[in-house]
């Protein structure tokens, strides 16, 4: 009897120490769930979800503070991927966050630009090229289409342009399903 209690106590102590050591030695920096969630987000950094960017939103979702349907640019695909990752049912994209648009990029009307650098300061991905009192332009390939630069422009010279499909990005449409009635 005593031997058994001693053995179990010794084992418990040993494993306790082992676990305690592992928790320190193999500590995971950051939040792996948030990382995974962030990996599924489109990285538009638009803030339409109500958070300051994709990373804060991912952290909020990981902490259970935010719904998974607040990412407007990601649309249904992102919601479905998040639902899949977190093992939930995919809800429809939240209506109050915004209406999903196709891919778009911001364009500066260079004739009107006064070189105030306001858009440079708002751009989350540094896609605006320019300097004070110099004309600005947007690097098309880097722009995520977040629209954050449109509102602050004092001379309203920034507008959004949809990205139309070219031969490379064109997609075959979904075929008419077999047994359309079924």
């Amino acid at each position: 009897m005593l031997a058994a209690i001693a053995a179990v106590t010794a084992l418990a102590g040993f494993f306790g120490l082992l676990l305690g050591y592992s928790a320190v030695r193999f500590r995971v920096e950051g939040d792996p769930v948030a990382d995974q969630i962030e990996g599924l987000l489109p990285q538009t950094q638009c803030g339409q979800c109500g958070y300051a960017g994709c990373r804060p939103y991912a952290e909020a979702v990981a902490a259970g503070e935010a719904e998974i349907n607040r990412c407007v640019p990601g649309g249904d695909n992102t919601v479905a991927a998040l639902a899949d990752l977190l093992g939930r049912d995919p809800p429809p994209v939240s209506a109050d966050a915004g209406v999903p648009k196709g891919r778009q990029v911001a364009v500066i009307d260079e004739a009107w630009c006064v070189g105030c650098t306001v858009c440079i300061q708002t751009c989350p991905v540094d896609a605006v090229l320019g300097a004070a009192k110099q004309m600005h332009t947007i690097l098309r390939s880097e722009c995520t289409g977040c629209e954050l630069c449109v509102e602050p422009c004092p001379v309203e010279c920034i507008h959004m342009e949809p990205v139309t499909a070219d031969l490379k990005s064109w997609k075959w449409p979904y075929p008419r399903p077999a047994g359309a009635a079924a």
């Binding site: 990005s169 075959w172 399903p177 077999a178 047994g179």
Partner: protein
């Protein structure tokens, strides 16, 4: 299946091996293969797309109003996987703009539009008559500058395929004269009428890749072509007649038929020591080398129920399809269904003004009313799996593509599908299976593009945050210092200022004393 017989030196003996799967659709080749190749007339305008190949589009180097000669470069290669585009006749450039191109999307793309002057005058050409004395890399360059791409349908730049790399050894060159798709007869007529050029092209390919043997594969429904090639064949070029099975003309399929080796998934034919070229490509590169002629025309089969006079035409690239039809007595109908390519792998043309490009082997004109049967539900009969020449499971791919489960579709080797259409051909439910696979493939590519864009945005956003953080810290440091120094002035401010002033006075005095020692004239010398 017969195992390949291995020879000494690692080569394999060409022979006829069985192809897995495949179908036997009616050929309809006799519609267009009876007449010799005729030269098409020049249209009023030639529309030359800057992208007629796989890879980056060419970059235009001409502007509106320029006079160009036949064979002059209109657009230079826009990258490594790219080739130049040449004027297909002499004339004047009237536009460099987006025009309708032959593409399943029906979209427009940048084109150079030429108004022919009717002279058809060539630019200066530099022939290389003795290819054997030329280094393979120089040959590849000649072929690249001539704008030669695979003319069997895919349009991959030929010079890249002729470059096996320093480590790989090519044992066999296969010239693909199979032309297995119904209706198409342009390669058939080419082999019958210009066998010497095919053989000459074969020899150039063999020299360029350093292969020992060369096999020209011809299906047994083209005995005249095989006979003509045999008569013209030189040493080391063998003509092999293969059974008529669709799709033995696919690149991986022809290797399987001729060598008996399967090209592994996601690998290139050169990794099993084989280079495959279409016979028309061989003729084009022969002309590019021997005559210095760039690729400016090709043979196109115009056939189908919708034309009264189906035949093969040698067409300057850029000729609108409507102009081609006008030379084949189109039947008067309100609307016709135009297919570019064959009935199995071709795509519907949305615009009759779309031009003939380097990869356009056939224009199939169907009468309207030949509407496909409506698709019915899949009954899982498995006929598609038996017909698939790539050993895939088409019905599984169909279910996954249909439910947009692209990960699963890729697990079932979606990207090994060659879109030959055998599965859809045998499907008793008339399901447009290939359409589903094409849909799934482009969706996967689009998702991949989105992922790459997201990664880029994340990197840029992270580095911006780091930069802002750094700037903020520097600013704070500066403010901190500023705050610290007025505090210092309040306590011992006068002393500090005095010390600074005293130091400056001392320095000035020291300088002056040096000057005075050197003499009064020294000041100017400083």
């Amino acid at each position: 299946m017969a195992l390949p017989q291995t020879r000494r030196g690692g080569g394999v003996t060409p022979g006829v091996h069985r192809l897995p799967g495949g179908v036997h659709p009616p050929g309809f080749k006799e519609l267009s293969n009876r007449e010799p190749i005729a030269r098409a007339t020049l249209p009023e305008l030639l529309v030359l797309p800057l992208q007629q190949h796989i890879g980056q589009p060419a970059e235009p180097i001409v502007k509106v109003g320029d006079r160009v000669l036949k064979g002059q470069v209109l657009g230079k290669a826009g990258g490594y996987v790219s080739v130049p585009v040449h004027a297909s006749t002499s004339g004047r450039v009237v536009a460099v703009e987006d025009r309708a191109v032959p593409h399943p999307s029906g979209l427009s793309a940048p084109c150079v539009v030429i108004e022919p002057d009717g002279d058809d005058a060539w630019t200066e050409l530099t022939p290389t008559p003795d290819y054997a004395s030329v280094d393979p890399s120089h040959l590849r360059n000649l072929i690249r500058e001539a704008g030669v791409v695979g003319m069997g349908g895919a349009g991959f730049p030929t010079f890249i395929k002729l470059n096996p790399g320093p480590k790989r050894k090519v044992s066999t060159v296969i010239l693909n004269g199979v032309e297995c798709e119904p209706y198409i007869t342009c390669d058939d007529r080419l082999m019958r009428e210009r066998p010497q050029e095919v053989i000459a092209g074969a020899c150039i390919v063999r020299h360029a890749v350093g292969a020992e043997q060369c096999v020209i594969a011809v299906e047994d429904n083209k005995p005249e072509a095989a006979r003509a090639l045999r008569q013209a064949a030189t040493d080391g070029v063998e003509v092999l007649v293969v059974p008529t099975v669709y799709p033995s003309g696919g690149e991986k399929q022809i290797i399987q038929v001729v060598i008996g080796l399967e090209v592994p998934s996601g690998r290139l034919p050169v990794e099993v020591g084989v280079v495959v070229q279409n016979v028309a490509t061989a003729v084009a590169l022969h002309r590019a080398v021997a005559q210095g002629e760039p690729l400016v025309s090709r043979i196109v089969t115009v056939t189908g129920e919708g034309v009264a006079h189906p035949r093969n035409l040698e067409v300057p690239l850029g000729t609108p399809v409507a102009h081609l039809l006008s030379q084949c007595e189109p039947r008067p109908v309100q609307a016709r269904a135009l297919i570019m390519g064959g009935p199995m792998m071709g795509f519907s043309l949305h615009d009759e003004q779309a031009p003939v490009v380097k990869t356009s082997n056939c224009v199939l004109v169907d009468l309207p009313g030949a509407v496909a049967d409506p698709p019915l539900p899949c009954i899982r009969c498995g006929a598609c799996a038996r017909a698939c020449p790539m050993h895939l499971l088409p019905q599984q791919l169909y279910w996954y593509a249909r439910s947009r489960d692209f990960d699963q579709a890729q697990d079932y080797s979606l990207f090994d599908c060659i879109e030959c259409g055998c599965c859809a051909y045998v499907c008793p439910s008339h399901i447009p299976l290939v359409h589903y696979y094409r849909f799934a493939k482009t969706e996967v590519w689009a998702q991949e593009g989105d992922r790459q864009r997201a990664d880029l945005a994340r990197r840029r956003h992270t580095s911006r945050l780091q930069r802002l953080d750094l700037e903020r810290r520097e600013r704070e440091e500066r403010q901190h210092k500023k705050k610290a120094s007025p505090a210092g002035t309040a306590v011992g401010g006068d002393e500090a200022t005095k010390a600074t002033v005293q130091a400056a006075i001392d320095r000035a005095r020291a300088r002056r004393s040096v000057h005075e020692e050197a003499g009064p004239g020294a000041r100017e010398g400083v």
